[in-house]
Assembly symmetry: C2
Homo-oligomer: 190 residues x 2
DNA sequence: CTACAAATAGAACAATCGTTCTAATTGAGT
DNA sequence: ACTCAATTAGAACGATTGTTCTATTTGTAG
């Protein structure tokens, strides 16, 4: 045994996430990751198998600690309608990773991705949609939404509006515009 | 005078559009364009100033002869509701450029674009939104939509749903799913 | 038929990409 | 203190990028 690892892998994942969000998968170079993480090529390739391997782990990190964690927290703290509104608004108000869109959304726009990557992104999408379905059903039990409506349909609508919103966020629409869009998406649920 | 141009520039723009739609701006190489158009680097750089110049002209071509032309035709032939439905469905049913998403949508997801490109894409988005607003107002005059509703809001909703749909199309959701999403977007307008 | 410039083809350029390799450094176990 | 393997840094590799350069071909005007 000698020379224990001098950096926290999770921390690197968070840093890399920021870079991937800003530049996208294929246009992010290892040089970018090196600069952001202050690690050398040697260290990076010692810790991660390849650029693709690093990205896959970043996606998993993102789904778990950004997307799902955020949804849970908002819904738990504020209930369905206000929680969804806060979640939608976090896409353009959040300081940490805000205004960059969603890692899954921007990745799905990239061409000729490896099958493994596609599967990982698909999985992420399903998790988000499933979360939406879950909170809709919860809201129906609470009486916040009528039990007569189809939760699948509502979840789909939520998901599509969310994706549309993210495109507009990425594209730099004004906060006022994005707020109106959020309102319209929520109005459909009343 | 000698040796007149042996290829049609518009034809090249159409071919290049197909490549850019499949691969995105930054990941499309001049080699790709060469292969698709069967032109040499010399010819391409004789006709177009640079890769960026070519792309700008492709975007203009796309807005005019694909997006706007398609909207006009569907609305003219089928009226508002069926027209919008057909237009939405063309994003995943059209054989020519279908299933690739929208050139503007996928470009807006790309990082660090030149200001000139950003402006061109922004312009395209505005044109689409403006077209939506125009056909909504037209539908209000026809009585297809209540005159009491705010056409700007409806156009915004249409635009956002359209962008969300395009993300899902690009991502390979099933026709059935996409049709449901389209229905939900239209239901909001009734 | 000759001359000439527009148009073309393809080799060559520097820059950047992801990745690998080789040393040098590090610190715990003996 | 010495050993030895885990870890690190950074040079180097071949492949690919957008672009430029140099010939060569081409068709028409005189």
């Amino acid at each position: 045994m000698a020379n224990p690892k001098s950096f926290d892998e999770t921390e690197v994942l968070g840093t890399a996430l920021g870079v991937f969000l800003r530049k996208g998968y294929s246009r992010t170079s290892i040089a970018d990751i090196k600069k952001a993480s202050r690690l050398s090529a040697g260290s990076l390739y010692f810790a991660f198998e390849s650029k693709q391997d690093l990205f896959l782990r970043v996606v998993a990190f993102y789904i778990r600690y950004v997307v799902v964690a955020r949804i849970e927290r908002y819904i738990h703290d504020q209930g369905f309608f206000d929680g969804v509104r806060s979640y939608f608004e976090s896409t353009f108000k959040n300081k940490e990773y805000g205004r960059c869109g969603c890692l899954l959304t921007i990745t799905s726009a990239e061409p000729h991705l490896d099958d493994v990557v596609v599967r990982q992104v698909k999985n992420g999408f399903q998790i988000i949609e499933q979360e939406f379905r879950r909170i809709v059903q919860l809201a129906q039990e609470n009486g916040e939404i009528s039990r007569k409506r189809d939760p699948n349909l509502i979840a789909q609508h939520l998901f599509t509006s969310y994706q549309g919103l993210l495109v507009l966020v990425r594209f730099g629409k004004s906060d006022r515009y994005l707020k109106t869009v959020t309102d319209a998406a929520l109005a459909y649920l009343r």
